[in-house]
Symmetry: C2
Subunit: 338 residues, 2 copies
């Protein structure tokens, strides 16, 4: 039986072009469109059922599950998916799971009961096999932002390792040797990869002179405050630089430092991660690794609509979107030796 | 036929207590619960169909439509509704309409087709009769934040007039006489009421000496930037105080002022509105009218679940939640006469 690749070869275009043409997301010159139509007819190509259901596109509903809708990162991500869905005439049904497994399972059951034709799934806790099974049988799906390891679906993440590396290298280059890394756990790829990248960055510049401490925890305001209070309460052997690995952690940290006798960047340098909130207006403006959150939302929907799992049996490789270090006013050389 | 009022009278409790008891949102002492059960049985009271559908509650789905999910105000509102829905074991289906009428109509049609059992509706544009008709026939519904005038459903707003009044009075008391009001249009109650309240506040203190200019527009970053650029470009007869009536307007305004040669509050005093974003960390920290956005979300769901439209023919009065002026560092006396 002919597959998408056969159609693409005969029409002399890429698989992606055929796929996007079929789901209506790409306007083609008349001659190209006719070449694809002819190839489909001659090869008797039939798109698979799931793919066709989605590629019909009009008035279909996509479900989007996120752990928390109130953070700038997730709310901006959701807005970006909504804009892309609107451009494609799709409806979107959003569900905030409060990052709780039973609520995720409950919404996944809704979706399996036919209330949505495709799913973009984000969790912020370590996954398990039962959750992965539900996702694997929910129909067309992509997993975004954090991995659910046993899922067999396309995956889309930001390049967490490169973000950690950029932050670590930047702080070490300006002279820091003693660091505090706040946030994440090794069971989640954002935590593990940002930490691994940070270590790589600081050691590349500072070698064995670098000392990195870590305060693990969720990406919340309160976790930022807790880590900051412990930092302020320390005496002389305080780290001279902090990497706060989410906007929420950074905001909690800034609140506590503002009320302390420590000033940024004179007494402590800070690099954030996410850079979705208005960090450029903070006192002082925050140097941070920016996640391309709008691109992430747009790309998640593209992957969901354009990926055809049944074309071949292999799993797609995970896709990483690049991050960028935005330099502002919260980093300076250390004033005392580490 | 007995109604809710009859049950409440016989059980010697309030209508609200009976209503909340029936929908499972209120735990009562055993004796009170028995009194209500007895009254229902003796009076042969049957909750109306819509009310019963919602009051059964378990695994039902509530739809929530907001114009934009990416702003701190709406994303925090949605998170609050989600938390309250979770507490009541309800599912929530969120839809971001991009503040476009045709997308609102499309989602309302989804809901009429039985995809939700109740609706919380927010728009950020002036409504019309066709939209109102769709809302009136969508089943149980509450309208929140902005009015859709011809709708016959419970309505829940923040006290916009009182918020404008507090801002105007505060700026006038500290000595300002020449003001710029940014945002909103008279066709929307948030714009009309915040402006009316602001005028009342400044005139109460300053009488005829007060001069209020207005830059109408949507509640967006870009509208804030546009108004700010026009403000900066003016010469000597610049207002000495600005009331920016949303977090987005305030952020756009701050960006432009930061890049100008005008400093806050030395050259211009500023009061914001919403205070959901991290305005306390801005340089300088922003004085603002705070909307009780979490309470608004919780109360919206309560109104939806507890309101029984068919009990009597009268429309409920709109409900207003109080706002609070939070004083920080962006207001000072004017340095030159107005």
């Amino acid at each position: 039986m002919a597959n998408l690749q056969d159609v693409a070869q005969r029409a002399k275009v890429s698989k992606t072009t055929v796929s996007r043409y079929l789901n209506g997301s790409l306007e083609l010159p008349k001659r190209t469109a006719e070449a694809i139509d002819t190839a489909i007819r001659e090869l008797d190509y039939v798109p698979n059922a799931h793919a066709r259901r989605l590629s019909l596109g009009r008035s279909e509903t996509i479900a989007l599950m996120v752990p928390d809708i109130s953070t700038p990162f997730f709310s901006t991500f959701v807005a970006s998916v909504e804009a892309e869905a609107d451009r494609r005439n799709l409806s979107l049904s959003l569900h905030a799971t409060l990052n709780r497994r039973e609520r995720e399972i409950s919404y996944l059951d809704h979706i399996r009961q036919g209330r949505a034709d495709g799913l973009i799934f984000i969790t912020n806790h370590a996954g398990d096999d039962a959750l992965a099974d539900k996702i694997n049988t929910a129909g067309p799906c992509v997993v975004v932002d954090e991995d659910v390891p046993a899922t067999r679906v396309p995956k889309l993440f930001c390049d967490n390792e490169a973000g950690g590396y950029a932050a670590g290298r930047h702080l070490a280059e300006i002279g820091h040797r003693h660091f505090l890394f706040i946030g994440g756990v090794d069971e989640m790829i954002s935590g593990a990869r940002r930490h691994a990248g940070f270590l790589r960055g600081v050691h590349e510049i500072a070698g064995d002179a670098a000392r990195v401490e870590r305060a693990c925890g969720p990406y919340t305001f309160e976790a930022g405050r807790v880590a900051a209070r412990a930092f302020v309460a320390r005496g002389d052997n305080r780290p001279t630089a902090i990497f706060a690995t989410s906007d929420e952690l950074l905001i909690g940290l800034y609140e506590v430092l503002r009320d302390s006798n420590l000033s940024v960047p004179h007494d402590v340098s800070i690099v954030g991660f996410d850079d979705v909130g208005p960090l450029h207006l903070f006192a002082p403006a925050v140097t941070a690794v920016r996640q391309p959150v709008r691109e992430l939302g747009k790309r998640a929907l593209e992957l969901l609509l354009d990926h055809k799992p049944e074309e071949d049996g292999t799993l797609p490789e995970e896709e990483l979107l690049p991050v960028t270090l935005i330099e502002r006013d919260s980093v300076a050389p250390p004033i005392r030796s580490a």
